[in-house]
Symmetry: C2
Amino acid sequence: MGTPFEDMAEIDRLVHEPSRLAITSALSSCESADFLFLQRITGLSKGNLSSHLSKLEKGGIVAISKNASGPPRTTIRLTPAGREVVAEHWERLTRLRDAARDWTASQE
Amino acid sequence: MGTPFEDMAEIDRLVHEPSRLAITSALSSCESADFLFLQRITGLSKGNLSSHLSKLEKGGIVAISKNASGPPRTTIRLTPAGREVVAEHWERLTRLRDAARDWTASQE
DNA sequence: TCCCTAAGGTTTGTGTTGCAAACCAGACTT
DNA sequence: AAGTCTGGTTTGCAACACAAACCTTAGGGA
């Protein structure tokens, strides 16, 4: 029920935001990645990356682990739930795009 | 140059926002649509729809025309430039998703 | 003619974001 | 001791999304 257009209202803005879309996409192709690696491939500043990761963590999308002793080093991975949310998000986008392509019905 | 992840930084937030993604998608499948029609299929409130349309208009994505006399009636269509921006946006998203799928290189 | 209502928008107010820039702090190196 | 690398937090601000209040024109009834 509801057009794919209405469906967009339910989109998950947590994942949809461009920087976070980049982060989750990068993570979805690997088991885990560390902070500096994510920073390099996304081009984000560390402050920015840090706050995006905090939001993703709070939302249960990623898990963050730091090694307590030794040099600071942070490892990030998608949680199983996060992996699902990300997949669902892409499916929603795909549905919308396909609907836009195929949809020529009752306009008035 | 630059990974598709970095590429996301250049995403057009004007189009990327969920409601506007729905609006532009709906418009891309038809020549033009009127205000009430867009409101029905997107499920947006009129106030909200109005402000989204204003932003899209200011950004050159859509053209808005109103019939001066008679009952109020507003017609919206994608501009040629807007059609291009929207297409480019979807291509960028597709590139990102495909990259996430295919990309298993050098994760140190 | 004068209200009344409804359609179709626009404006305003408010809380939330995203971002840059500044600051902080532990561990190694020299 | 000084410097650098790592991984952050905090602060300040401008832009945004949304809801709710407001405005305007058209037509209907008395």
